[in-house]
């Protein structure tokens, strides 16, 4: 059993500050952390490892400094770690990123077939939630997003049963392996690694893979492979409207005042509702 957990190193969004003079985001001095959503997936993978003895490989694409994130994942208990790092990957959007990660997962599969891929629900810096589904589409994996519980993994039947949060409630899904899972936040609590994990993480010789190591098509990664165009970045303006206090002596009078205020501001709505009556 081989589980791959994809993680991303992101700036700690809780500690980002705006430069008082230039009003730009100051990345300098902001600690880099593992994308918090990824940790729920890593913990879930480790729980499956505890039950099945699976190998858990963490995979990260990023600059050399992302090594810290991988070592952190190892110290939490991951078996192996791979850093996909190459200048040619720089500027990849979600499409190109999932393509690059897929090429690395294919290489990992050649070592030992990959049965499950875990991804974070989304990242706190990009917030797209596209890379996980991108991976599962390319690899033809069963796609299980927004999972709140992995109920069981049956290795003999190669089946997995999960609880998936959806708008109307919870879906209980059973599907076959291999699959791709993104975990919902707050569905588990990250463990505290053992002393052995700490030693192993500190001594681990990290695998650094370049584009060529993964045999990845150069035209599909980096800026070249990224169709996304960022045309403009802007700070939303604060709302100019002030809140209004609606007053009335009785509850009925308050309700009437509220309706009058709404209809006063939205005459079209008033008209539609009245005609519907």
């Amino acid at each position: 059993m081989h589980i791959v957990v994809c993680i991303k190193q992101v700036p700690d969004s809780a500690q980002i500050r705006i430069h008082p003079v230039t009003n730009t985001i100051m990345r300098q001095g902001v600690p880099a952390i593992i994308n918090p959503y990824d940790l729920f997936s890593l913990e879930e993978a480790l729980r499956i490892r505890d039950q099945t003895g699976a190998r858990v490989t963490v995979l990260c694409m990023g600059p050399p400094m992302a090594e810290q994130a991988l070592r952190k994942a190892l110290s939490l208990g991951a078996t192996d770690a791979v850093l996909l790092t190459d200048r040619k990957f720089a500027g990849s959007d979600t499409l190109a990123t999932s393509f690059a990660l897929v090429s690395a997962i294919n290489k990992l599969s050649a070592e030992e077939p990959v049965d499950m891929v875990f991804c974070g629900k989304q990242t706190v810096d990009g917030d797209t939630a596209q890379v996980g589904p991108g991976i599962s589409t390319r690899l033809g994996l069963q796609q299980l997003t927004y999972i709140e519980k992995v109920e069981s993994v049956d290795l003999e039947k190669r089946e997995i049963t999960v609880h998936r949060r959806s708008e109307g409630g919870v879906q209980v899904l059973k599907t076959s392996l291999p699959c791709m899972i993104t975990m919902l936040e707050n569905t588990n609590t990250m463990r505290f690694g053992t002393m052995d994990d700490m030693f192993r993480a500190a001594r681990y010789k990290l695998n650094l893979w370049s584009k060529d190591d993964t045999n990845c098509d150069e035209t599909k990664v980096g800026l070249k492979g990224s169709p996304t165009v960022v045309s403009k970045v802007f700070v939303p303006k604060p709302r100019a409207e002030k809140s209004k206090f609606i007053e009335g002596d009785t509850p009925e009078a308050q309700a009437q005042a509220a309706i009058d205020t709404i209809f006063g501001a939205q005459p079209k709505l008033a008209e539609d509702l009245m005609s519907a009556r």
Partner: protein, 433 residues
């Protein structure tokens, strides 16, 4: 299987880093344990770094060490209610290739040093708290236990660099609880400001910096001092007093810091700066008389945990680095000679300390903490009297100078009495001799 090292260093502050780096450079198998998320995560310093000690340990540190500004001007201010009287020293000769003093942000330095330590070959493990020392039947320290599962680790020697609280030594019965009059609580803020404003307000260029050390009424008669340092694009402002004084007084540390920031001579310097970081830490102030037992069978204690701080000269991190280095050198010497890390052999560490500026300086100022603690007039009455005297002298109002001098003399005598004045002069001499 229990891991075994030549040495375990507990803590990644200046003393622990100095010890670990020195041991690793000598080729020893050393493990550094730090409870914070990364080296420096828990560390707080004003801070001024004195280069000489770091240079001795890492000669080419200036190449990539993230210092802030090198200091070209030192100001010492005695604050009155709305004034200060003080001295300045500024020299272009401080603009050298190898400046002696820098303003720093501690966490940045320790992160940088952490990398150097790993490059030097030491194993560094963070987010791991040492909970106790492990001893064998004869009481010799043979390792540590951490808060993690399977947390027992062995070593020939354990160097405790765990900071002012020295929790391990206390838990292990090697130190007593520190008396409240022997520790200060200091609070500080790092305030963001446009570097151009710093340069304009303090008359600086490039990476030049100014240090202001402050005493006076702002501590409300408590034994304490304040400071204002210029960093690259921030100012550090802080204040600290003895815990015993905070305990009996009715002023909280943060209130004191707010008062300092509002003081009419300070406010214009920090105007427009935005608070970025707030920190508080304890500082060992007991001096020579508060230094605990420094070594034993299989253990040594360094830095703040050994109470190495020179309050009179506001030196601490250099004592920490030097003591860490000396402890490491002691281990290296014993290792080379094939000697055991017994108390008798580790006494070499104490001999090195006694022979260095650390113990010589602490001994010189051994009476200072006690005298300051019992003579609060140095922190309240005198700054007030001196400011009033200056105000009187520099007000030109057709009163003849002889009368002015008499008025000033009278104000001193009235406040302190002739015997008090003589006694205070004598006490000051004793404190600094």
């Amino acid at each position: 299987m229990v891991e075994k090292f030549d040495a375990i260093v507990i803590g990644a502050g200046p003393s622990g880093n100095a010890a670990t780096y020195t041991l690793a450079k000598a080729g020893l198998n050393v493990l550094q344990l730090e409870r914070g998320e990364y080296p420096g995560a828990k560390n707080v310093q004003g801070g001024i770094m004195y280069a000489a000690e770091l240079e001795r340990i890492i000669p080419d540190f200036r190449e990539d060490c993230p210092t802030e500004r090198h200091i070209i001007e030192q100001r010492i201010w005695l604050l009155g209610d709305d004034s200060y009287i003080g001295t300045n020293y500024r020299s272009d000769a401080f603009n050298t290739d190898k400046p002696n003093r820098y303003t720093i942000i501690r966490a940045n330095i320790d992160k940088w040093w952490g990398e150097k330590i790993r490059e030097a070959g030491a194993l560094q493990i963070c987010e791991t708290t040492v909970t106790e020392l492990i001893r064998n039947e004869s009481g010799r320290v043979i390792g540590v236990r951490t808060d993690r599962v399977g947390g027992e680790i062995h070593a020939d020697v354990v160097i405790m660099a765990d900071g002012v609280n020295a929790l391990l030594a206390k838990r292990g019965g090697l130190q007593k609880e520190v008396a409240p009059e022997n520790v200060a609580l200091a609070v500080k803020e790092i305030m963001f400001i446009d570097p151009a404003m710093i340069e304009q307000r303090f008359g600086l260029k490039d990476e030049e910096g100014v240090v202001i050390e402050i005493m006076g009424k702002v501590t409300k008669g408590m034994v304490g001092t304040a400071f204002l340092y210029t960093n690259k694009e921030s100012l550090t402002i802080g204040i600290g007093c003895l815990i015993s004084d905070f305990k009996s007084g009715d002023c909280t540390p943060y209130k004191m810091l707010e008062d300092l920031k509002k003081h009419p001579v300070i406010a214009p310097l920090i105007e427009g700066a935005e608070m970025k970081e707030y920190a508080a830490h304890m500082i060992p102030e007991g001096g020579y008389k508060a230094v605990p037992q420094l070594f034993g069978d299989g253990w040594m204690v360094v830095g703040d945990a050994a109470h190495f701080n020179n309050a009179a000269h506001r030196e601490g991190s250099n004592l920490a680095m030097a003591s860490g280095r000396m402890a490491a050198e002691t281990v290296i010497e014993m290792k080379k000679a094939g000697k055991a890390m017994s108390a008798a052999n580790l006494a070499t560490y104490k001999a090195k300390l006694d022979d260095s500026f650390i113990m010589k300086d602490l001994k010189k100022y051994r009476n200072l903490p006690g005298i300051m603690h019992e003579n609060k007039q140095f922190f309240g009455a005198y700054p007030d009297l001196l400011n009033a005297a200056a105000h009187n002298l520099f007000t030109v109002d057709s009163v003849d100078k002889k009368t002015k001098e008499n008025e000033i003399m009278k104000s001193f005598v009235k406040k302190r009495s002739p015997f008090g004045l003589v006694g205070d002069a004598f006490k000051l001499m004793r404190a600094f001799r």
